[in-house]
């Protein structure tokens, strides 16, 4: 039995907009992260995946719902009560340029967590930082260099070292390799895999790149407009896709194989992602769904297991895809009944 490390329950996070509207970035998400696993979180721009991640790390105050970490509801903690728990949950960000202060030396950037939490000082801290640098594949002699003296991939290693300084249990990686070239991307993905093994880390891995997420994740949750539409063990998500949005997302992913590219099913979704300030009624995907029915415009589908034999695979769709169902010829039927 795998143990739950972090559990999100009916989480909502709203932001006020300039036009006095409410943007529902995360709108009722329940999800668990199990100890030792990598949970992939995918979706397109504005689907709320980064907001959800920041709520998990309690970088945002949530609007409602709870985030249980090791039996504590983080949303109820004060800043001071949260502080010791910050050691347990760390983040790695996308932009290795924007997330490192250009005026500070790398040694002091990586040493920050020790300083903030009052752990070790002087020569002892320097030794710890240099151990971390070595661990992530940086030359410890570069302790006194500035971020500008490192390449993008090396900077991301600095970000990884900083996140691991306090030996967290959960690391939330928000598009950690998206800004990197493929040959460098592979280096960082391997590094994260090695560190997970060595330190028993649990990862939440956010990316818009499904092929990367497929490679790193044990399970994947797919988000659309603030909600989870499908969650499943990785291979099952690809082999037995149930939600039409997931299928469309998979079919839109360019594959680096000409024969597959020429022969596979291609579903081109119409239109753009609707606004999160005014999401569509019923199922939020109905405005773009190739097999939407009238019912989809009124009834919001709950996230449920697809079948009793597959309790691990959940989807939020009134008319989930059957095995082998061809979506490329489907036509929406939205007649008033």
């Amino acid at each position: 039995m795998t143990e739950t490390l972090l559990k999100v329950q009916d989480l909502r996070k709203e932001f006020p907009t300039q036009h006095k509207e409410v943007l529902r970035a995360v709108d009722g998400v329940s999800l668990e992260v199990r100890r030792g696993e990598t949970l992939g979180l995918v979706g397109e721009t504005g689907c709320g995946k980064s907001t959800l991640a920041r709520c998990m790390a309690h970088l945002y105050d949530v609007t409602s719902g709870s985030v249980w970490f090791n039996g504590t509801d983080l949303t109820r903690l004060s800043r001071r009560e949260m502080r010791p728990l910050r050691r347990e949950v760390q983040m790695i960000f996308q932009d290795p340029y924007g997330s490192l202060n250009p005026r500070r030396r790398v040694g002091s950037i990586i040493g920050d967590p020790f300083a903030i939490h009052g752990i070790s000082s002087g020569q002892q801290r320097k030794r710890k930082v240099q151990e971390l640098m070595e661990l992530v594949g940086l030359n410890p002699e570069h302790y006194n260099r500035f971020p500008a003296e490192f390449s993008g991939g090396q900077r991301q290693r600095i970000g990884v070292a900083r996140a691991l300084a306090l030996r967290p249990k959960l690391v939330i990686c928000d598009e950690p390799v998206s800004a990197l070239d493929v040959s460098i991307q592979a280096q960082i993905i391997n590094l994260l895999a090695d560190l997970q093994q060595e330190f028993d880390l649990t990862y939440v891995f956010i990316s818009h790149d499904l092929s990367v997420v497929r490679h790193v994740s044990d399970r994947i949750a797919v988000m659309y407009l603030g909600k989870i539409v499908e969650v499943s063990p990785t291979e099952e998500l690809f082999e037995q896709t149930r939600h039409p949005y997931t299928r469309a997302l998979l079919s839109a992913l360019p594959v680096s194989d000409p024969d597959t590219a020429d022969s596979r099913e291609r579903i081109i979704l119409m239109g753009d992602i609707p606004s999160a300030t005014n999401p569509p009624s019923g199922c939020r995907f109905h405005t773009r769904c190739p097999k939407a029915r009238t019912e989809c415009t009124v009834t919001e589908p709950p996230l449920e297991p697809v079948a009793a034999e597959h309790p691990e695979h959940e989807t939020a769709c009134l008319f989930p895809l059957r095995l082998g169902e061809d979506l490329s010829t489907a036509v929406p039927d939205l007649r008033a009944s």
């Binding site: 493929v182 391997n190 490679h215 680096s256 753009d272």
Partner: protein
């Protein structure tokens, strides 16, 4: 005959840190109605090369030639380039927001562009043409949306507006520099479909600059793999993926996330500095097959197994062909 014939293009920039040799002897040709993908990582020179051809690299030292329908674009005067750009050679870039003026309505911007190249056309006719173009790239209610400002369009729609503008004058060549990099995959699929459809309809040749091998596999006819300012391998699409020769091409493909392997195979190290590039193969320091000759002599592009459509700049290739020849 080739539509565009680029020969031994060299581009360098004088910077405070030294001379950056961004493009180092690049040759290629584009045939009418075909798609040439130029693939490479950051700093490989893929964007600089095409920007130079269209006269957009200021302050650079440029040698070589780029013949487009009989005109050398490198030595052409500003007026000639201005006439060709837009009318014959159109360009779209990664970020459509910075290519559209935020203060002018979409329709005004397209009409202005059409009228700049066609002095005879009336404003009404140009406007009708603008609406037709937006319809062509799949923007619903196009006539109404002409009065919208760029910020009222989503990212994918802005890129389609850019494609509409690029196609407005029925150019012979479209240069698309990372056109879908800033877009989500479902929107990217829409934009690529539009590009493919327009190419079929108008017979436009496309130079597609990208770092995404998936996009290459879906769109390209021919492929150039660039590294450190030079072509490492040139081949038809299927050869690049299934019969590739150059260790860099192989390294790139091996770096991609694979489904059934626990570990990826990255290329070790980082690309060389383009300021202090030594003699020899630029990939030598990261190459798993490197031997002595690679470090002292730069390998030129040569046919792979006697096929002139498939070339690789690697001494291993030369050893093979020389062995075959003798």
């Amino acid at each position: 005959m080739a539509l565009l014939e680029v020969r031994d293009l060299r581009v360098s920039f004088d910077t405070p840190d030294g001379i950056v040799r961004a493009v180092r002897g690049l040759s290629f040709s584009v045939e009418p109605g075909r798609t040439l993908a130029v693939v490479g990582e950051s700093g490989s020179g893929k964007s600089v090369a095409t920007q130079t051809i269209t006269g957009l690299t200021r302050g650079a030292t440029i040698t070589g030639s780029a013949y487009f329908e009989g005109t050398d674009l490198i030595t052409a005067d500003a007026a000639t380039l201005r006439r060709l750009r837009g009318a014959e050679i159109a360009m779209i870039f990664q970020d459509p927001l910075s290519s559209l003026h935020p203060h002018y309505r979409i329709g005004w911007q397209i009409v202005e562009m059409i009228q700049a190249h066609d002095r005879q056309i009336s404003k009404q006719a140009a406007r009708r043409r603008a609406a037709d173009l937006l319809t062509l790239v799949g923007i619903p209610r196009a006539a109404e949306r002409l009065d919208d400002y760029p910020h009222q369009f989503s990212g994918g729609m802005r890129q389609r507006v850019m494609i509409a503008m690029a196609m407005a004058l029925d150019p012979a060549l479209l240069i698309a520099d990372e056109p879908t990099t800033a877009l989500d995959v479902t929107v990217q699929a829409q934009v690529l479909t539009v590009m493919r459809r327009l190419q079929e309809e108008f017979g436009t040749a496309i130079i597609l600059i990208t770092h995404d091998l998936g996009v290459v596999a879906e769109m390209a006819d021919e492929v150039i793999v660039m590294y450190a300012g030079a072509a490492m391998e040139k081949a038809p699409r299927r050869d690049i993926f299934y019969r590739n020769h150059h260790p860099y091409t192989q390294g790139l493909l091996a770096s991609l996330p694979a489904q059934n392997s626990l570990r990826l195979t990255p290329i070790p190290g980082t690309p060389p500095s383009l300021i202090s590039l030594a003699e020899g193969c630029p990939f030598a320091a990261r190459c798993p097959h490197v031997f002595d000759r690679c470090r002292v002599e730069t390998p030129p592009l040569a046919d792979v197994q006697g096929d002139p459509r498939h070339q690789s700049a690697c001494w291993l290739n030369h050893d093979v062909t020389e062995a075959v020849a003798s």
